[in-house]
């Protein structure tokens, strides 16, 4: 059938998602909020990027989550391939640099 590791097209959306993660917005809804991408766009992009090997996923520290009274979040990080992809994205869509340069959610709360 299809090639499993087929690379997703480098689109503006994947670029924004990669950039958001790189800037510390590591959770699904957090990425949606910071990127302003519509509901239903971010998750498919995450799944594609993850399947393509651009992202790795890990769990938030359980104690930290408990201290905040919520279940642990699954957070995404860039792999080496992801980083390379992000560089390509930045080259192609310089605008994404500005978009995600905002403070993180945590910082905003603190401020």
């Amino acid at each position: 059938m299809t090639d499993v590791k087929k690379k997703p097209h480098l689109t503006y959306v994947t670029g924004v998602v990669l950039q958001s993660i790189d800037r510390g917005h590591k959770y699904g809804f957090d990425i949606m909020d910071i990127s302003g991408l519509p509901d239903g766009t971010v998750y498919p992009a995450l799944r594609r990027l993850e399947a393509a090997g651009y992202l790795s996923a890990d769990w938030e520290d359980a104690d930290r989550a408990r201290a905040r009274g919520r279940p642990s979040r699954r957070y995404y990080d860039l792999t080496a391939a992801g980083r390379a992809e992000l560089e390509r994205a930045r080259a192609r869509f310089p605008a994404i640099d500005a978009i995600s340069a905002a403070p993180t959610t945590e910082e905003r709360r603190a401020g």
Binding site: V4, G28, F29, G40, Y43, R47, G69, P71, R73, R74
Partner: protein, 907 residues
């Protein structure tokens, strides 16, 4: 914070558990954890539409993971063997996903059929979810009080006298606390003096007992009950919002109120009740938004002894005490109390302790349950409809199925495919249904009269969502099971050989099933039409029922003298005499009269009455006590049956006289002529009043309410009562010869001529008021009627579709017959007759079921018999006519079958 979030977390957990079955096994628990964290994060920020959108996002995400995993692992030969031999949940789910994809493709190819089916299911699920939301919010959700399951209405049918309440307080062991409250007993005015407010009152511990926490300020406590305490009022949240714009400084300001027993007083505002605090069902306040506020009028136990008592008792059961035990205790205490007071009152079954929620929602419970039942029938019709369509359509898929079976698919596999298809239809229908439910709940909240208790707590929530989804799954399963069953048993040879252009025909079993389903559709339609018809007739009877007075051309207005206009009882009379005269001078006005309370305006002035020549009983029969000006009976058009009307001679100092209604005459003087006899009432317990006239009964409380006994007293003779009890104003009834536009303004001007500061409020015509009392019935009727029409339409769609398939299926036979000389008309007639025969059987069963169910409608069908031949006939005729209409087009097309084309295709 955490508390508020907990139910949403629970919901999210359950929801994700269900959705995650689609996710490949190795990722499932991971996936659930991730989404739980995400949704919890979102729920913490409020549960708007955004939250729900994101909840829905989990579904495509789960499917995406499944698809990724299918692609990710191309099956090896070994894996394929294992897959074929060993069923595993993961593979079954993968199979389901494949089935779903296949079904989706199949359904996309038939957009007409798919749309019709989805809309039908959506309509059913939408209606059912809407009614579920209503029933859940009004009947099922716990009351917003502290441990609401221990709150009870003690002896709800009893108006408590002080001695009985004291006995209960002293002796009863079932309760942690007891409190009294009185509905409808309070009228007040705000400081501006421009508006009339209605209130309710209760003992000081009442609010504490319920566990109400104030929104602002404090609620009154026991001490406010004590004699000499300043007292105070507590505002309802809604009134606080509307009048004081939710300002905190409202607390501490004063509210001026007037009441029969305590006169006019200015009371401090102590606090504001929490939102949605209510206890009294069916409260018809002056204004559409109930402005009831609880007031600490001391529960004057001596005053209550004169048995104008309007007090009810609410209790909080001790933990572990059952309602049954409390009821037994109450019964023995009541019996002892009866003996102690030498009473012989057969209170029979009424001694009971019921849950407070049941007491509050009692009046609307039957209506909601009826509508919920009706909606159930809609859903059943939708299911029957779609099942029948799928069944008919299944025939055309027989070839497809046969090929699969011939190639080695197991019947199970085929059934599963069809079930997947119907489940998919159900789920898509569910989405449509949810959209309809959102609209439906919004519409219902506007449509339902505000007297429906707890309407504010009605809203689509997680429970309703779950209900809708569960319904969709069950519906999908139910509509798929029959066609799937037949398909799984299909004969491969017939399917392969008999298929194609020639088309297969249904076997006898399948034909019977199809006919049964069709008959069921018509039967269901008849049941709903007959119920709606009965309610309509009953409603019409009530609407046109003679209220005992002439309501047409009668209007009512409330007038209260401005400050300083009236200083004594005599001035009060002359004030209203002048007002009446000015009103009568308005061109087109035929008469005006004052009364302490006009008909249909509520239930006040309730007092015990008894014969003056006998000892005062402990619980004398309760009458409605009305003060009227001499012209009153003439103006409202209540007939005088015996004796004389009031006249100008009935003044203070003359012999005290009363006119009593027929019902009062029957109650007080069962076997004697009441004329010339003397009676006493609680309001004037030391005055013997001579009965000088008997007037016809009127429906004082509304057309659907029981006739109550009334005692009329002339205004000039009740000055002492008014002074003692502080009647501040009076209703005025106005008779006009015909419709009089601008009457309200003219009435105000007429009063202003007498008293520039006078309050003129609550203008309403009597026909409007009568129709308002029937509002709940009207709403039930409108909804039930709409449901009946919905079921009829669904039935029509079903018959149309199935007949269409039937004609296509018999095309070959019809073509041959037309070729050898049958006329088109004859063929069409035959098809139509076949459908009508089935419909007639269904209608017959529907009539039988309607008759059997007639008892359930007893609550709604008043003034007419519950089995009504005319209604049944009309319902049956209507259902059959619609069936004939629905079958007409396919029948005609049957007659137009082109024999050449059919036979050519054959060759």
């Amino acid at each position: 914070m955490t508390d508020g979030r907990a139910p949403w977390t629970t919901f999210a957990r359950g929801y994700l558990l269900v959705v995650s079955v689609v996710v490949p096994g190795r990722r499932r628990s991971d996936w659930r954890r991730e989404w739980l964290a995400e949704l919890t994060h979102e729920a913490g920020r409020g549960r708007g539409g955004r939250f729900w959108r994101r909840v829905l996002l989990a579904i495509p995400d789960s499917i995406r993971l499944r698809l990724l995993s299918v692609r990710a692992a191309p099956p090896t030969i070994g894996a394929a063997h294992r897959a074929a031999l060993v069923p595993s949940p993961g593979r079954m789910v993968a199979g389901l996903a494949r089935d779903a994809r296949q079904s989706a493709r199949g359904l996309r190819r038939q957009p007409g059929f798919t749309t019709l089916t989805v809309l039908t299911i959506g309509f059913g699920i939408g209606a059912a979810t809407t009614m579920f939301t209503l029933v859940d919010g009004v009947l099922l959700e716990p009351l917003p009080y502290e441990s609401p399951d221990r709150l009870v209405a003690v002896w709800p049918e009893r108006w408590f006298s002080a001695s009985l309440f004291e006995l209960l307080e002293r002796e009863a062991e079932s309760y942690e606390a007891l409190a009294v409250w009185g509905p409808r007993s309070f009228t007040g005015f705000d400081d501006a003096g421009s508006e009339r407010l209605w209130g309710a009152r209760s003992s000081g511990d009442f609010l504490t007992l319920l566990g109400a926490t104030p929104a602002v300020g404090r609620l009154y406590a026991d001490v406010d009950d004590d004699a000499g305490a300043d007292g105070g009022v507590v505002l309802t949240h809604a009134f606080w919002q509307s009048r004081y714009a939710g300002r905190a400084d409202a607390v501490g300001s004063r509210l001026r109120i007037a009441n029969g027993e305590m006169g006019e007083r200015s009371l401090p505002i102590l606090g504001v009740l929490p939102p949605r605090f209510e206890i009294q069902p069916g409260y018809y306040p002056e204004y559409r938004a109930p402005l009831d506020f609880a007031v600490t009028v001391p529960f004057d136990r001596e005053a209550a002894r004169y048995r104008s008592s309007e007090y009810r008792v609410v209790g909080r059961l001790r933990p572990g005490v059952s309602r049954e035990r409390a009821a037994e205790e109450l019964e023995s205490l009541a019996a002892a109390w009866m003996i102690e007071h030498g009473l012989d009152d057969d209170f029979g079954e009424s001694v009971d302790v019921v849950s407070l929620k049941e007491f509050m929602t009692g009046p609307v419970r039957p209506g909601l349950i009826l509508l919920f039942g009706a909606v159930g029938l809609i859903l059943v019709t939708a299911v029957v409809n779609v099942a029948n369509l799928l069944l008919a359509r299944g025939l055309f898929r027989q070839r497809d199925v046969s090929v699969r079976l011939a190639l080695g698919a197991t019947p199970r596999r085929v059934v599963r495919l069809l079930l997947a298809e119907s489940t998919l239809l159900g789920l898509v229908g569910c989405v449509v249904g949810m959209a309809l439910a959102v609209a439906g709940v919004g519409a219902l909240r506007r449509l339902l009269p505000p007297t429906v208790p707890r309407l504010e707590s009605v809203g689509l929530d997680a429970g309703a969502l779950g209900f809708g989804v569960a319904l969709a799954l069950v519906t999908g399963w139910m509509i798929g099971i029959l066609p799937g069953w037949y398909a799984g048993r299909a004969d491969v040879r017939v399917g392969l050989v008999g298929s194609g252009a020639r088309g297969a025909t249904a076997g006898a079993g399948r034909r019977r099933t199809r006919a049964t389903l069709m008959a069921a559709e018509i039967g269901l339609a008849v049941v709903l039409l007959a119920s709606a018809g009965l309610l309509t007739r009953s409603f019409w009877r009530l609407h046109t029922l003679d209220p005992g007075f002439d309501a047409d051309g009668l209007a009512r207005v409330y007038v209260r003298p401005g400050a300083g206009a009236v200083g004594s009882a005599a001035e009060f009379e002359s004030y209203f005499e002048q007002v009446d005269q000015r009103i009568e001078a308005i061109p087109g006005v035929a008469g005006a009269a004052a009364t302490s309370q006009a008909p249909i305006t509520g239930d006040g002035g309730v007092v015990g009455a008894y014969r003056a020549d006998a000892a005062e009983p402990e619980t004398p029969p309760r009458v409605r006590w009305r003060q009227v000006s001499p012209d009153y009976l003439r103006v409202v058009g209540a007939p005088l049956l015996a004796g004389r009307d009031f006249d100008r001679g009935d003044v203070a100092g003359a012999e005290p006289v009363a006119i009593i209604s027929e019902q009062a005459a029957r109650t007080l003087f069962p076997s004697e002529d009441p004329l010339g006899r003397r009676i006493r009432t609680g309001f004037e317990s030391d005055t013997d009043v001579t009965v000088v006239g008997v007037t016809g009964d009127i429906r004082l409380l509304g057309p659907a309410e029981a006739v109550v006994p009334i005692v009329y007293r002339p205004y000039p003779q009740t000055g002492e009562v008014r002074e003692r009890m502080g009647f501040a104003g009076s209703d005025i009834v106005v008779r006009t010869a015909g419709p009089l536009p601008g009457l309200q303004v003219r009435l105000r001007d007429a009063v202003r001529e007498v008293d520039r500061l006078g309050l003129v409020a609550s203008f309403e015509t009597m026909p409007e008021m009568l129709s308002r009392t029937l509002e709940e019935r009207r709403t039930t009727l409108v909804l039930l009627g709409a449901f009946a029409i919905g079921v009829l339409l669904l039935g029509a769609i079903g018959i149309y579709g199935v007949t269409g398939y039937l004609v296509r299926e018999r095309r070959r036979e019809l073509g041959v017959r037309l070729a050898i000389g049958a006329s088109a008309g004859r063929v069409a007639r035959e098809v139509l007759t076949a459908v009508l025969r089935i419909a007639a059987v269904g209608a017959g069963v529907g009539v039988a079921v309607s008759i059997a169910l007639a008892g359930l409608l007893r609550h709604f069908v008043v003034e007419i018999a519950a089995i009504d031949v005319a209604v049944l006939t009309v319902s049956t005729a209507l259902a059959l006519a619609v069936a004939a209409l629905a079958a007409f087009v396919p029948a005609v097309s049957a007659g137009r079958t082109d024999p050449v084309a059919v036979l050519a295709a054959e060759g």
